[in-house]
Symmetry: C2
DNA sequence: TACAACAATGCAACTTTGTTGCAAAATATT
DNA sequence: AATATTTTGCAACAAAGTTGCATTGTTGTA
């Protein structure tokens, strides 16, 4: 498992550091999306806040993680699929945010439908974010 | 025009105040979505920052405006259609954010396609946000 | 129209979130 | 193992958002 993580970093031409390994493994273990705050809590003062900001930024630029827009001023991040390359994200799956527990899922099974835009509008990225109740909070 | 604005406030059982009239008319005049910062600038020290926060919050609760999720930690707000009621928003149109000029459009012509979710997931709200280049920034 | 009841505003103080520059430490390269 | 490069932590700051409370403004009623 640990080997896998350093491989990912190497693959994206990033030097192997403690913080990058730790933060990347957090995403790996959690499975779901994480906000900056989540990472700060889970790494519990292991790293400086600034380091987390910069690491996330680097990961996004390199195509290791992608952002998920939200309406509550807490952008979330999730692991990209292999197809993602630096600068060009291909995350055409749906994201689901649970109103109860706050967990953010990547619904890989469902892909974002293509949308026709009015003349002159050119789409670069499309995000479909659904909020509601997840399968754990549902009774 | 001014009559219309007070009517909207009255219709949602809100008392008519200067700040509410001003902020609501800003949305009306602009047509596009506005972030908190935009409103702060456009009302140029006419009101306290706190008042703007609270006014926006009230408008969302009452169903006068709705939020548009973004990936840059600057939630935007736009006028709801008539069908929106307090607590229940029905904004099933697409939102477009221009990467160049930052303008956020409500693309009313296009409606959000329905999506099948895995078992146990119940959707309350669906947001389709597209970013790219708008028809003004396109040459 | 004036008055009482209520709601909204402004202010101050504070918390949280995000940013920048620079010296120290860690990583990579030879 | 030694040097060049990158990353980190610290400090200081800027921006964004929140809360309590006294003051002001709004509404409904007499």
């Amino acid at each position: 498992m640990h080997v896998k993580i350093t491989d990912i970093l190497r693959k994206h031409q990033l030097s192997i550091t403690e913080s990058r390994k730790k933060i990347l493994s957090l995403f790996w273990e959690t499975g779901n999306a994480l906000a900056h705050g989540d990472i700060e809590q889970k790494s519990s003062d292991e790293f400086d806040r600034v380091t987390i900001y910069r690491t996330l930024q680097t990961f996004v630029e390199k195509g290791i993680i992608h952002t998920i827009p939200t309406s509550d001023n807490s952008v979330r991040y999730a692991l990209c699929k292999d197809e993602c390359a630096a600068g060009h994200h291909h995350d055409d799956h749906v994201h689901f945010i649970c109103d109860d527990c706050g967990t953010t899922y990547c619904i890989d099974e469902v892909s974002v439908p293509k949308v026709k835009l009015p003349k002159g509008f050119k789409a670069a990225q499309t995000d479909l974010v659904i909020s509601g109740t997840c399968n754990k909070c549902e009774q």
